[in-house]
C-alpha cells in the first residue's frame, strides 16, 4: 500500500547516493579486519556451575532467586510469594508448566486477561524459554508462550525456569534463537529501572519493580 511513487523515488535515490559515495571513497585498507575466531571472553566467574552463576548474576541485578527440587516445592514457593492476593490480581501466561504449578499451589489466576484486568493486576506469572547464566537474563520467546504482557505490566513478575534451560552466555543463546518462529524475543535482566533523575537508581518505573525467579532442578 505504501509503494507510492514518492516511496520508490526516495528508496532509489538513497541507494544511488550510497553507491555513489561508496564509489568515491578510497579503497578500504584499515586495520580492522574481521576476526575469524570466537570472541575471547574472560573468566567472569570462578564457578563453572551454570546454575550457581545464574543465581549470582540474578542477585547482582536485584532479582530474588530460589532454587527448588521439584514442582511441588515450586508451588510452595509460589504460594509464599503470592501470599493472600485474590484471583483478580494474579495473571498468568498460557504456559503449561505455570498452570501446573499454579494449580498445585491452589492459586486462582486469570489467563488471557483483558486490558483492564492487566492494568489492575498485582502479579504476573510466566515461565521463560531460556536463561543466561553470566548476566542473569531470562529469555522469553513469543512463539512458545504468550507472556509478553504478563511479564511486563504487573508490578511483580514471577518467572519459573528449569535448570536445563540455563546456558552460560549470550552467544550460546543467540545461536539457539529462531526469530522467524518467535516474532518477539525479549531478554529480561532484573527489574525495571531508571537513573534519569540525578543518576539515582529508581526501581519499577514502567515495568515490574520486583522480579522473582523460581528455578526448578531438572531430574
Amino acid at each position: 500500500m505504501m509503494h507510492s511513487s514518492s516511496h520508490s523515488n526516495a528508496r532509489s535515490s538513497i541507494f544511488a547516493s550510497i553507491r555513489e559515495n561508496l564509489a568515491k571513497s578510497e579503497p578500504f585498507n584499515e586495520e580492522h579486519q574481521e576476526a575469524k575466531s570466537e570472541p575471547r571472553t574472560g573468566v567472569l566467574f570462578v564457578e563453572t556451575n551454570t546454575s550457581e552463576v545464574f543465581r549470582e548474576s540474578l542477585e547482582m541485578v536485584g532479582a530474588k532467586c530460589t532454587f527448588v527440587e521439584n514442582e511441588i516445592e515450586a508451588a510452595d514457593r509460589l504460594r509464599s510469594i503470592v501470599g493472600d492476593r485474590s484471583a483478580t490480581e494474579i495473571i498468568v501466561s498460557d504456559s503449561e508448566l505455570v498452570h501446573r504449578i499454579v494449580n498445585a499451589a491452589g492459586i486462582n489466576a486469570i489467563q488471557d486477561a483483558s486490558r483492564d484486568e492487566l492494568f489492575s493486576s498485582a502479579i504476573g506469572i510466566t515461565s521463560a524459554q531460556w536463561a543466561i547464566a553470566e548476566t542473569g537474563t531470562l529469555v522469553l520467546e513469543s512463539g512458545a508462550e504468550r507472556h509478553r504482557l504478563a511479564s511486563l505490566v504487573p508490578p511483580v513478575h514471577v518467572c519459573i525456569v528449569t535448570t536445563s534451560s540455563i546456558r552460560q552466555s549470550m552467544a550460546e543463546i543467540l545461536k539457539l534463537m529462531d526469530p522467524d518462529a518467535n516474532r518477539a524475543i525479549t531478554f529480561v535482566t532484573g527489574a525495571s529501572r531508571t537513573s534519569d533523575i540525578e543518576l539515582t537508581l529508581a526501581i519499577g518505573v514502567h515495568g515490574p519493580g520486583e522480579l522473582y525467579v523460581v528455578v526448578i532442578k531438572d531430574q
Binding site: A10, P39, S142, R148, L152, P179, N182, S195
Partner: protein, 484 residues
C-alpha cells in the same frame, strides 16, 4: 517557558551561559563521577575489551562498505516477516511518512519511546503541528517534554536537571505535592503514563540494531516503556537510521557486550526487545503492523571518505560525552544539537552543514579521552581535525564560506615567519621588546583595555591565568655559549 533553543551557531555564547550555571555544574560533576566509574567497573567484566572493540568496529566497517547490500537484505527479510519498509531522504520526508501512518489509524495521540533519530528529525514538532499529541514515555524524555526543553545527553536526557527542579516541574504540571524523593517522582511518572499507554493505538520507537540476516530490529532499554510501546499498541512505527544495520544475528553478541557497559556501566540493560516483523498468529500479543522508516538525512554522504565514514559506526552509547572534559564543563545544550559532546561535534556539522556548526569541531582540546572510551574505536580527534581543515580551507560543498579571513592570514604569517630560523629569531626579539609593556615580575598578569582589544588572545588567556614571558636568553643562545 521559552521554546527557542540554543543553536550550534552560537556555541560560544551557549557555552559561556552554561559555565555560569552552578546547578548545571553540579549535575555534570555527578555524571563524570558516577558514569565514568561505573563504566570502568563494567568493562572489567567483559573479558577482552580490546578484542570486543576491534570486532565491533570490523563488523561496522564491513557493513558500511557494503551498506547497499545489507540494507537490501535487511529490508527484504523484514518485509518477509510482515514489516512495511519506508524510505526517507531527509527529516521532512520521515515526518511526513510517520504523520501519514498515524492519520491512517485515526489516532490523535501516540506513545513514544526514546529515539535519537526521532529527535534528529524533530518528530514531536511535526506531530504537534498536525494536531497529534506525542507522549514521551522514557522518564527523562517525559521530564524534558514537560519542561519544553531538548535532551542534553544521548542516554540521560535530563541530566542537566536537579531533582528539585524536576519536583517543581511535577508540582506545576501534574499537580503532585512537593517532594524530593526520587522514588515518588518515578512512581508519579508510572501512574500518569500508564493511563496514556492504556489509551494508545500507535507507538513510535527508534532502533539500536537492525539485523540483515533476519530482518529483526533490536531495541535496548531499562525502564520497560519501549516494551510497552512496542507490545500494547496496534501499530508500531520504528524510525531507523540507515547505518543501524548489522549483518548477522550472532553479531548482536558483541554489541550487547559493548553498548550497555559503555553507556550506563551495566552488563546488560534490563530489557532487550528483538522484534521480527509482526505476530504470525492473529491472537498473539503485539501490534498488527510494524512500519520501519529508513532514514538517510545526510548519512549516505558520510560514506564518501574513510574518515567521515567512521562516524556512521557510532552506536550512541554516550561514553564519549561522559569522558569529555569539555562536555563535563558545558553540558549538552551548548552544542545546540540533538547530538552533543565529542561525537556530536563531528556528526552535527556533517548532518546539518559545516557552516551551521563551524564552531563545534573546535570545541575540543583534542585530548583523545573520547577515542579511548569509544566502544567502536571511532577516531574522533582525527575526525575533528579533518573537519577543521575543511573549515579552514573553506569547504567547497557549502553554500556559505566557512573560512575565517583574520585567522587564515594569521596562520599564513605564522608559517612564513616561523618556518625559517632567521625570521623566527627576529620575531622573538620583537616579542621580547613588546612584552616590556605588559610583563611584571617575569609574567603577564591580567591584560585588559586597549591591549586586550588589539591582541584578543592575550586578553582571553590572561583573564583567568597568567601568561609566561619570553626568556631574556633563548635556548639556542644558551646552547651557543655552552659550545664555546
Amino acid at each position: 517557558m521559552s521554546t527557542t533553543h540554543a543553536t550550534s551557531e552560537t556555541f560560544d555564547r551557549n557555552a559561556r551561559a552554561a559555565l555560569a550555571d552552578p546547578v548545571l555544574h553540579g549535575a555534570l560533576r555527578n555524571l563524570a563521577d558516577s558514569f565514568v566509574v561505573r563504566r570502568r567497573n563494567a568493562i572489567a567484566s567483559a573479558g577482552d575489551w580490546e578484542d570486543l572493540r576491534e570486532r565491533a568496529r570490523s563488523i561496522k566497517d564491513e557493513t558500511l562498505l557494503h551498506l547497499d547490500e545489507y540494507l537490501e537484505r535487511f529490508t527484504e527479510n523484514a518485509e518477509k516477516a510482515g514489516s512495511t519498509i519506508h524510505w526517507a531522504r531527509d527529516g521532512k520526508e520521515a515526518c511526513e511518512i510517520v504523520l501519514g501512518l498515524v492519520r491512517a489509524q485515526n489516532a490523535n495521540m501516540v506513545v513514544k519511546a526514546k529515539s535519537m533519530a526521532g529527535e534528529e528529525i524533530h518528530l514531536n514538532e511535526a506531530l504537534e503541528a498536525a494536531g497529534i499529541e506525542p507522549v514521551e514515555t522514557d522518564l527523562g524524555e517525559w521530564i524534558i517534554q514537560l519542561a519544553g526543553e531538548t535532551p542534553s545527553h544521548i542516554v540521560v536526557p535530563a541530566i542537566h536537571k536537579t531533582k528539585q527542579q524536576i519536583a517543581d516541574l511535577f508540582v506545576e504540571k501534574v499537580g503532585i505535592e512537593k517532594t524530593d524523593n526520587v522514588d515518588v517522582l518515578t512512581q508519579t511518572a508510572r501512574r500518569i503514563l500508564r493511563q496514556r499507554f492504556a489509551e494508545a493505538q500507535v507507538g513510535i520507537s527508534g532502533v539500536n540494531f537492525g539485523v540483515a540476516e533476519t530482518g529483526t530490529i533490536l531495541i535496548l532499554e531499562n525502564e520497560g516503556n519501549i516494551r510497552l510501546t512496542t507490545s500494547l499498541t496496534k501499530t508500531h512505527i520504528a524510525v531507523m537510521g540507515i547505518e543501524k544495520v548489522i549483518p548477522k544475528f550472532a553479531d548482536l553478541d558483541v554489541f550487547l557486550k559493548l553498548l550497555p557497559r559503555s553507556g550506563t556501566g551495566q552488563r546488560l540493560t534490563a530489557y532487550q526487545s528483538l522484534i521480527t516483523g509482526v505476530k504470525n498468529n492473529a491472537d498473539d500479543i503485539g501490534p498488527d503492523e510494524l512500519h520501519i522508516v529508513m532514514l538517510d538525512n545526510g548519512r549516505s554522504r558520510m560514506l564518501a571518505h574513510p574518515l567521515t565514514r567512521q562516524s556512521l559506526a557510532c552506536i550512541r552509547c554516550g561514553a564519549c560525552l561522559n569522558a569529555c572534559p569539555v562536555y563535563q564543563q558545558i553540558g549538552g545544550h551548548a552544542y545546540g544539537s540533538v547530538y552533543p559532546g565529542p561525537i556530536g561535534a563531528v556528526i552535527t556539522p556533517q548532518l546539518f552543514g559545516l557552516s551551521k556548526a563551524k564552531q563545534l569541531p573546535y570545541a575540543s582540546s583534542l585530548c583523545g579521552a573520547c577515542r579511548e572510551v569509544c566502544p567502536v574505536k571511532i577516531d574522533i580527534p582525527a575526525l575533528l581535525l579533518h573537519l577543521r581543515s575543511e573549515i579552514a580551507e573553506g569547504s567547497t560543498r557549502e553554500s556559505q564560506p566557512t573560512r575565517k579571513l583574520g585567522e587564515s592570514i594569521a596562520f599564513r604569517m605564522y608559517s612564513r615567519i616561523w618556518s625559517r630560523s632567521g625570521t623566527y629569531a627576529l620575531s622573538i626579539r620583537a616579542a621580547r621588546l613588546a612584552q616590556r609593556f605588559v610583563a611584571r615580575n617575569g609574567k603577564i598578569g591580567k591584560v585588559s583595555g586597549m591591549l586586550a582589544l588589539l591582541v584578543p588572545p592575550l586578553g582571553a588567556w590572561t583573564e583567568r591565568r597568567d601568561a609566561p614571558v619570553v626568556a631574556p636568553k633563548s635556548f639556542r643562545e644558551m646552547w651557543r655559549e655552552k659550545k664555546k
